[in-house]
Amino acid sequence: MRILSQRTTSASRVMMMCVAVCGLGLAGCDDQGGDPAKQIGANPVLPEPQQYLLPPMRIARIAHWGEGETPAVPQGLQIRAVAKDLEHPRTVYALPNGDVLVVEANGPKAPINRPKDLIMGWVQSLAGANAKGGNRITLLRGVDGNKPGLRTVFLDHLNSPFGVALVGQNLYVANTDAIIRYPYTDGQTTITAAATKLTDLPGGPIDHHWTKSLLASPDGSKLYVGVGSNSNITENGIQAEYERAAIWEVDIRSGAHRIFASGLRNPTALQWEPQSGKLWAVANERDELGPDLVPDYLTSVQDGAFYGWPYSYYGQHVDPRVEPQRPDLVAKAIAPDYALSSHVAPLGLAMYSGGDFPAKFRSGAFVGEHGSWDRNPLNGYKVVFVPFADGKPSGPAQDFVTGFLNADNQARGRPVGLAFDRSGGLLIADDLGNTVWRVSSASTASAAKSTP
């Protein structure tokens, strides 16, 4: 009896040690992210995937923009707030008459599917990502100082809207579950007319990546819609991914759609590249494989192409977390054009299309990197500029707007959507600072000083 209990005790001691060693082994390796510069451009360095008990995480606690504090811009440029106290602004959209629409929204309430969701909800609230969205669109007039300032509620009571596109006299709004259409006339400051639904979009009940970005074709016959995946890596079931992680092409007359491109985990900020006329997008790649996997990217979007999600990333790098695997699809997967480095969470894209920025910023893409908590040290939380030549990226990304993090690595703001206004100013939606910023050439300072 005594011998037996002693044996049990020593057996359990051995087991305890095993547990401790396992625990350390699984949680302790490679927690710190490397130099993001190695993952910028066409050929990012991709380390081996890691699996964790607790994925590395770094939450940027919330600070606030103090009086007179702004993000920082390169020499020759200036930045100022053109609207404050918004409700989670995500998208900025410039109307042809110079008015600017600001889409204020956040995702619908996420269901608790697993115990992890309770913890993630808490993490998000620490990072300020759970703030209530306005579910509305605000109109700003005179942001470039050329007209008297005006701010009105343009559209209200929307359902987690994100994308906006004006085609002729029709304004299309992408709610999280449908594209709706409103009649619009030039100069209108508020819309009271009822909406007409063009088509449903994949929405609830899970709606993990809820944003639906919108871009009209130049001839106004098609709408392109970025539809994000319904999970990180199919943990909500492959059934939940039907027609998601894709860019839809919607016929504007009938509302019928086809999948233009697929395998893009969370494509947002669709834009036309002015020189080539090609469709470009930024996409958020998968999490929990390590601080340096998988790089988010900027890419041209080819008709009919498959970009890998969920089965593989950057071409044929198979993700072990997806079962059953699909070697047939992996074989078809193509790599995106340009890596932005890991966990920067790009959500905004604007192609330079004329204005008076310093010469070195006149050909290329501006990318709004929202930043995330999936990496230590933090990455993103800035707007970068990717130079283009002949319609393609031609060099490393440069910091363009910084200072969203303060000296203590607390987030004062997080950039999301970008757009150029009629006068060539770059507008930045900041959903943590609840602000819209405007970057303009310092030489036009006098005209822009009169704040609306």
């Binding site: 209990s5 699996q51 697993r114 199919t234 943990e235 909500n236 969920p310 977390r321 997806v322 079962e323």
Partner: protein, 151 residues
């Protein structure tokens, strides 16, 4: 034997609470092992979701059960030689619960590797340890030392 059987400190209307709670973790963890096995053979995310909730429920019941056991030890009339086998039982159970906690983290991964292979192995190990512990120490305590039994 004129003396009374050892009483449990945590009781409700005279019924011992620890023996009432003690089977729950094993039952939940066994359920998780079964849903893990199904997921392994037919990886539908639903089974993994079942598993992680079952493991979580098992851990919650394990926590309550440990609290009841501690109260029994500290507050009961238990410090008798009769309770000697409670210590190996407690240690083995603690190992199983720590493994189950690690298993909850493994099961919180996204996708297939939440279960295969680490999660599945841990689920099986936890069940095996708790079964052995239950068979051995349960028999010792109840039948030899009559813990919680009526006088």
């Amino acid at each position: 034997m004129g003396d009374n059987n050892p009483a449990a400190a945590t009781t409700t209307s005279g019924f011992a609470i620890h023996p009432l709670l003690a089977p729950f973790p094993l039952a939940f963890f066994l359920g998780a092992f079964v849903t893990d096995l199904i997921y392994w053979r037919a990886p539908d995310a639903m089974w993994e979701t079942f598993s992680v909730w079952l493991i979580t429920a098992g851990l919650i019941m394990a926590g309550l059960s440990v609290v009841a056991a501690l109260i029994d030890v500290v507050g009961g009339q238990h410090r008798t030689p009769a309770l000697a086998p409670a210590w190996p039982h407690a240690l083995v159970t603690a190992v199983a619960f720590v493994l189950a906690l690690i298993n909850a983290f493994v099961h919180s991964r996204d996708g297939y590797t939440a279960v295969v292979p680490t999660g599945l192995i841990l689920s099986g190990l936890v069940v095996a340890i708790l079964l052995c512990a239950a068979v051995w120490t349960g028999r010792e305590a109840a039948y030899r030392h009559r813990v919680g039994a009526l006088n």
